[in-house]
C-alpha cells in the first residue's frame, strides 16, 4: 500500500499517519496482516468519527452494504489539531497520491521521466511517481531550463509563442489545468513595451487523475503500462535574436498496477443493513 511506503517520509517531516474507515477492527486486521500495514487503521463501524468530520458519503443508498462510508479525503493537521491542507476529490474514485500530497506541501521530490536538450533550452519531464493505480491523482512536471542569457515568454504574452504545456486527453484520464509560475517582467532592448516571461528555470505542473479499473481495463489487461503524451510550445529569444517558435513532444511512462481486489474473509464483511 502506497501509504505504508510513504510513512518514513512523513516521519522525517514530523508527521504521524492514520487511516479511518467504516470497517471493523477485524476487517482492518485481516487487511493489515495481508498487506503488512503498520500504521494505525482506525475502525469507525458506526461512522461516528466520519460524521463528526463531515465526511459521510450521503450519496450511498441508506441500508446498503456501503451505507456509512466516508467520502475519501486526506487532511494535513498540525500539532494543535488545526487543518492546514485538505485534499478532497470531486469523484469518489479519485485519490491524490501521498507523493503528490507531499509535493504540494513542498516536501516531496519528483522522478525524472525524460530529458530533451534543445538548441536554446533544456526540457525535463518528471512526475511525482513512476507507478500508478486506477483512480490515482498525481502530478506531471515539465521543467524548462533556458540557456544563460535566453528567455521564454509567459503563456499569455502577446506577439510571441508563450510557453504552453498541453497534455493529450484520453477517455480514462481527467486532466486538471496546467499551473504556470508567475512570470517576470522582461525588459527587452528592442521594445519599450512590457513583456512578461521567464529568464530562469520554469516549472509547469499538470495534475492528472486515472479513471476506474473498468475504464482502464484495456490498459491493465495489455500490461503495457500507461503512457501520457503532451506537447510544450515556446519561443526562445536572447537580447538580440528571436528564434522561431518550437513544439517539443513530451512523454511520461508509468507502470500501471491493478487494484487489490482481494476481499476480507466472508464472515467479516459488511452486511447490507436493509
Amino acid at each position: 500500500m502506497e501509504l505504508e511506503r510513504t510513512k518514513a517520509e512523513l516521519t522525517a517531516l514530523g508527521l504521524g499517519l492514520c487511516a479511518i474507515s467504516y470497517d471493523t477492527v477485524e476487517i482492518h486486521g485481516a487487511f493489515a496482516r495481508r498487506r503488512g500495514i503498520t500504521f494505525p487503521l482506525l475502525a469507525d463501524p458506526d461512522s461516528a468519527i466520519i460524521r463528526a468530520f463531515g465526511l459521510l458519503d450521503e450519496s450511498v443508498a441508506p441500508g446498503s452494504r456501503e451505507a456509512g462510508m466516508a467520502h475519501p479525503a486526506i487532511l494535513l493537521v498540525d500539532e494543535h489539531g488545526v487543518v492546514r491542507e485538505r485534499f478532497v476529490e470531486r469523484q469518489y474514485y479519485h485519490r491524490m497520491t501521498l507523493p503528490a500530497v507531499l509535493y504540494r506541501l513542498g516536501a516531496g521530490a519528483v522522478v525524472t521521466h525524460g530529458l530533451d536538450q534543445r538548441g536554446h533550452v533544456r526540457v525535463r519531464t518528471a512526475a511525482t511517481q513512476t507507478v500508478v493505480h486506477p483512480g490515482n491523482r498525481f502530478t506531471l512536471v515539465v521543467d524548462v531550463l533556458p540557456r544563460p542569457g535566453v528567455h521564454v515568454y509567459a503563456p499569455d504574452a502577446g506577439g510571441y509563442q508563450g510557453l504552453t504545456v498541453d497534455v493529450v486527453g484520453e477517455s480514462f484520464l481527467t486532466l486538471f489545468p496546467p499551473v504556470y509560475p508567475r512570470p517576470q517582467r522582461l525588459d527587452l532592448a528592442w521594445t519599450d513595451e512590457p513583456v512578461r516571461g521567464y529568464r530562469g528555470p520554469v516549472r509547469v505542473t499538470v495534475d492528472v487523475a486515472c479513471g476506474t479499473r473498468q475504464e482502464m481495463a484495456a490498459l491493465l489487461e495489455g500490461g503495457l503500462g500507461l503512457t501520457i503524451h503532451g506537447t510544450l510550445a515556446f519561443q526562445a529569444c536572447d537580447d538580440r535574436t528571436c528564434w522561431p517558435p518550437e513544439v517539443v513532444p513530451l512523454r511520461w511512462q508509468f507502470v500501471l498496477t491493478p487494484p487489490d481486489l482481494v476481499r476480507a474473509p466472508e464472515e467479516l464483511r459488511h452486511r447490507s443493513k436493509a
Binding site: 504521524g16 492514520c18 476487517i27 493537521v77
Partner: protein
C-alpha cells in the same frame, strides 16, 4: 455514486480544528489524535473501505 458532491463543503475547512476522536486500530489498541500525531501533526486519510 457518480454525482458531484460539493467538494469545497465536504469535511473540515482549512484553519478549523478537527473534532476529538478515539477508535481502535487493527490490533484493537485505542488510538486518538494525540497518540497518532508526530511533533508537527499528522496526515489523516479517510478511506472508503479496506474491503474494497
Amino acid at each position: 455514486m457518480n454525482g458531484d458532491p460539493p467538494v469545497a463543503t465536504v469535511g473540515p475547512a482549512i484553519g478549523t480544528r478537527i473534532p476529538p476522536f478515539g477508535a481502535p486500530d487493527q490490533d484493537g489498541r485505542q488510538q486518538t489524535f494525540e497518540s497518532i500525531r508526530g511533533p508537527r501533526g499528522a496526515i489523516i486519510v479517510f478511506i472508503r473501505s479496506s474491503d474494497w
